[in-house]
């Protein structure tokens, strides 16, 4: 928040801005996208993750520390935090809670964000952060780009394009910033269109095409010396999106997000105060009309609507300071399925897959930070009340099939607590110890989902309205060092879950979806444990060459000692970032070990190891007032045939890809 203000209120130096970010870094890792921070050393971003603004968000997220991307096709990959999927972590945009509207998770919230309107993101793991809400898996907050007040250059603009050979994809993007007096304005737009890509076997992956536009408008108005009123609008519209890993595609996915923010850097004893109200609406429709053979045609539309508000501020307290945030939101989820019998004249088959679920949540979090000479202490807690009920009589009747009811309000109190202690181990290194406890509500699918087919294990899933909260006890130790030429940081975590929510097979019930193996109902399994870690290392080899090495690994075990499904194996990224005659040359190597710890309950296949090599070149020319950046490269140079373990189904990742991006900045 302080950063948003810092950027907007005046043109403070990026360095100072960075410093303010750095202080928060160990709290929730803020990852900045601005090209000024391209290959930021010690950031935990593998260089390939950066690319240019023309790269899709997924490609950027793919390289982040502790994050993997679950693929269902080439569009809208689902971020996975230390092996935990989006049911378990909180995802928000500028602090606004948003929920995807697809029961099959075809539209993770990250799919509605584009890199050219994304300024930075906060990533918190496990239960360590209490500011976004309570969860067991962590949180991701995408921060949108804000209008910049710049008296020296009232108009700033950029244009870009990207071509990818592997899918014949062609993207165009543009943005403009205008400021005058107390008013600043920013608009950006992206259009992306891709055909089917080819995999490492040179086989066309059918139904992997997509097309989308994304548009964002922000308006900032300065009030008085330092206060500011800001309106943000974000729209995203994708259509004709193929999901080769799934039995259905998407006819359209639309998001409309609007937020109104008031920023008061100084208000009595409060600092960095921010008040926000917001609303968003997501409209999504699955489609199978293009598939060659479907057992029967189905329509599966879904919608979510979320409205909320929050108030956040900071106050000095003793030797430290307290950050507080109070927030409320209400979220409505509706999804339905209509199947059409093959016999003409047959009655359509209709069910509510999300039976009009209304969830209301209000909470307050406090976090105390005190910095000393040899380290710092941070302690936080959050309490949250939530009420969930279904608003549809038809949905209520569906539940009666399982002897359940949903019309009454299901109220839950949630609490979280976290503490961390940073200790200077030497002049250039610190040791960090964390302990945290978090809880989460079942997701709408886990609580009220109705015959949701999961392509991964082939079962239809049913929610259980009476699920208990899932709890996570999170312990972590981390180490960071920066001695000038060598920087590395490592973290090892341990999660111990109680009432871990997982589907259990019910052989006595029959599958609904044609071809499904059976029915699983979500239930609270007694325990689960996960452990693993991340390591990011970079080193200046010469003045013009930096070596990056990053590793991440997750181990998960369920209550019965069996492996948890979809656990990413050890993954390594190595990159050498060189500057040769003004050209940035960046060879990259990515590899993962085989995953043999598989969950037989989820019918997981063993995934073989793989290695992929990319080569990237980039060059920037300045010709005042313009700056041109040309980037080109080859991804998957060796035509490796591979998939990552967490990918849904056996669809392979893309084969060799030549790309070219152009950016012109004014």
């Amino acid at each position: 928040m302080c950063c948003a203000f810092g950027l907007a209120a005046q043109q403070i130096s990026y360095e100072a801005w960075l410093d303010s970010v750095e202080r928060e870094n160990f709290i929730a890792r803020e990852i900045l996208l601005d090209e000024l921070l391209f290959h930021q050393k010690g950031s935990g971003i593998t260089p390939g993750a950066n690319g240019s603004q023309a790269s899709p968000t997924d490609q950027f997220l793919h390289g982040l520390s502790g994050m993997h991307m679950m693929r269902r096709g080439s569009f809208a990959n689902e971020p996975v935090l230390r092996g935990l999927n989006s049911d378990r972590y909180i995802i928000s945009v500028d602090g606004m809670r948003i929920f995807g509207a697809c029961t099959d998770k075809m539209d993770p919230v990250s799919s509605y964000i584009e890199t050219n309107n994304l300024r930075s993101m906060d990533v918190g793991f496990g239960a360590e952060d209490s500011n976004q809400g309570i969860s067991t898996g962590g949180n991701v907050n995408f921060k949108l780009k804000k209008p910049v007040f710049n008296a020296d250059q009232p108009v700033m603009a950029s244009l870009g394009g990207r071509f990818s050979s592997v899918s014949g994809g062609f993207d165009q993007l543009a943005d403009i910033n205008y400021s005058q007096g107390k008013l600043a304005f920013r608009a950006s737009g992206v259009h992306r269109k891709a055909g089917n890509y080819t995999d490492g076997n040179r086989q066309e992956v059918r139904f992997s095409q997509y097309e989308k536009v994304n548009y964002a408008v922000s308006l900032a108005y300065r009030i008085g010396k330092d206060q500011m009123l800001m309106v943000d609008f974000l729209g995203d519209h994708a259509w004709d999106v193929g999901y080769p890993a799934l039995p259905m595609d998407v006819a359209y996915a639309k998001a409309n997000v609007v937020g109104l923010t008031y920023i008061l850097p100084e208000f009595g004893k409060l600092t960095n105060s921010e008040v926000k109200v917001y609303h968003n609406f997501i409209d999504h429709a699955m489609d199978d009309t293009r598939r060659d053979s479907v057992a029967m045609h189905m329509d599966m539309p879904g919608q979510t609507r979320t409205s909320g508000a929050y108030l956040s501020a900071q106050i000095a307290a003793g030797k430290g300071s307290i950050r507080m945030k109070s927030d409320v939101f209400t979220n409505f989820s509706h999804a339905e399925m209509t199947m059409y019998a093959n016999e003409p004249g047959g009655a359509p088959m209709y069910m509510l897959t999300w039976p009009d679920v209304q969830r209301q949540v209000g909470g307050t979090g406090l976090e105390y930070t005190q910095e000393g000479k040899n380290g710092s202490v941070r302690v936080g807690m959050r309490g949250e009340y939530s009420g969930t009920k279904i608003k549809s009589d038809a949905g209520e009747r569906q539940l009666s099939v399982f002897g359940k009811t949903g019309l009454q309000n299901r109220a839950r109190w949630l609490g979280s607590f976290h503490a961390s202690y940073d200790r200077k181990a030497s002049e250039s290194s610190i040791l960090i110890f964390k302990a945290a406890y978090g809880e989460r509500l079942p997701s709408v699918s886990e609580q009220f989902g109705y015959y949701l087919f999961n392509r991964m294990d082939g079962y239809d899933y049913l929610g259980d309205p009476d699920l208990k909260k899932e709890k996570n006890l999170h312990l972590e130790a981390a180490y960071r060092t920066d001695n000038g030429a060598i920087r590395w940081k490592g973290a090892a975590f341990f999660y111990y879950f109680n009432d871990y929510i997982m589907g259990r097979y019910h052989p006595e019930w029959q599958a609904m979806t044609p071809g499904a193996r059976g029915i699983k109902m979500y239930e609270n399994t007694p325990t689960a444990l996960m452990t693993g870690g991340e390591m990011d290392f970079d080193m200046d080899l010469t003045q013009n060459a930096v070596l990056f090495v990053a590793a991440k690994y997750v181990f998960g075990q369920d209550y019965s000692g069996m492996p948890l499904p979809q656990m990413p194996p050890l993954k390594l990224n190595v990159a050498l970032d060189m500057s040769i005659a003004g050209i940035q040359v960046l060879p990259e190597w990515e590899g993962a070990t085989a995953q043999r710890r598989i969950s037989s309950r989820f019918n997981e296949p063993v995934t073989p190891s793989y290695q992929v090599v990319n080569i990237r070149l980039s060059r920037t020319f300045r010709k005042d007032p313009l700056r041109y950046t040309f980037s080109t490269g080859v991804e998957n140079v060796t035509q490796t045939v591979y998939r990552e373990h967490i990918d849904i189904s056996d669809i392979l990742r893309p084969g060799r890809n030549f790309y070219l991006t152009v950016n012109i900045k004014w």
Partner: protein
């Protein structure tokens, strides 16, 4: 609702002759909840029949209003005999008198399980014997769009003919439904007794998708050939209610009902 009424009727029978202390629910006026189906008079007695809907092949709950020539509601004793006159032969159908044969305030209730529709084959009549007076009321029975009565011949003896009336769900809904069937046997042309000793397995089935639904309760005999269970429909569409009926441990028939919701 119908099953509740049936249960209520049984309680009513139990209360007959003894002082029934339980407050009786007020009975609806004839016209308010029910539709008039037909009326007949012989000058001395007038009988008007009411039901939820026109008589159909299946289980019909009927309320009769019995008046004298002056329009006064009668009390006393009544008996109803159904008859299908097919010229060459005549037969009756299963009948139930859940409240017995006594009636007060002109209101007499009975259930008729018509086993075929009126038409070119023949016509139905209900003959009332009221306090010694006899009056035949011609009625029209239609074949409903969706069958609510199934019949089968025992696969064991190859001769006994059984009739299964689907009483509930009358208006099936997605979710849990009370399921009630009545099973009767054609003993002779005029004798159609209830069958009380059957074991019935029930499976709702969606033929177009080839799946059933979970957590159903097989119908179990309650009284007078009525079997009560629970059936779940997980979605709208075309369903079948598949029954497997056994007598003395041997499967005698597998009737089914088509259900659209």
């Amino acid at each position: 609702m119908k099953s509740l009424r049936w249960a209520y009727a049984l309680v009513g029978v139990a209360c007959l002759g003894v002082s029934c202390t339980e407050q009786e629910a007020p009975k609806p006026l004839f016209e308010t909840e029910l539709s008039e189906i037909t009326s007949a008079t012989d000058g001395a007695t007038t009988i008007t029949l009411y039901a939820d809907e026109p008589f159909f092949v299946g289980f019909n709950q009927v309320t009769a209003k019995i008046e004298n020539a002056n329009g006064e509601l009668l009390s006393g004793e009544a008996l109803v005999t159904p008859l299908m006159d097919m010229m060459t032969m005549r037969h009756a159908c299963p009948m139930e008198f859940p409240n017995g044969f006594q009636f007060v305030d002109g209101r007499f209730e009975f259930n008729a399980v018509f086993v075929m529709p009126s038409g070119d084959m023949g016509n139905w009549s209900l003959t009332f014997a009221v306090n010694g007076d006899t009056l035949a009321v011609p009625v029209t029975v239609v074949q409903p769009a969706r069958a609510r009565l199934a019949s089968f011949v025992s696969t064991q003896d190859q001769t006994s003919k059984y009739f299964v009336a689907l009483i509930d769900p009358g208006a099936p809904q997605v979710g849990e439904n009370v399921m009630e069937i009545g099973v009767f046997k054609k003993q002779t042309m005029m004798d159609w007794p209830a069958v009380e000793d059957l074991t019935i397995a029930m499976q709702p089935w969606m033929p177009s998708m080839d799946h059933g639904s979970p957590n159903n309760v097989d119908p179990v005999h309650q009284a007078a050939g009525h079997y009560l269970g629970k059936v779940n429909f997980t979605m709208t569409g075309e369903w079948q209610l598949r029954l497997s009926i056994s007598e003395s441990g041997l499967l005698i028939g597998e009737p089914l009902f088509d259900i659209i919701l």
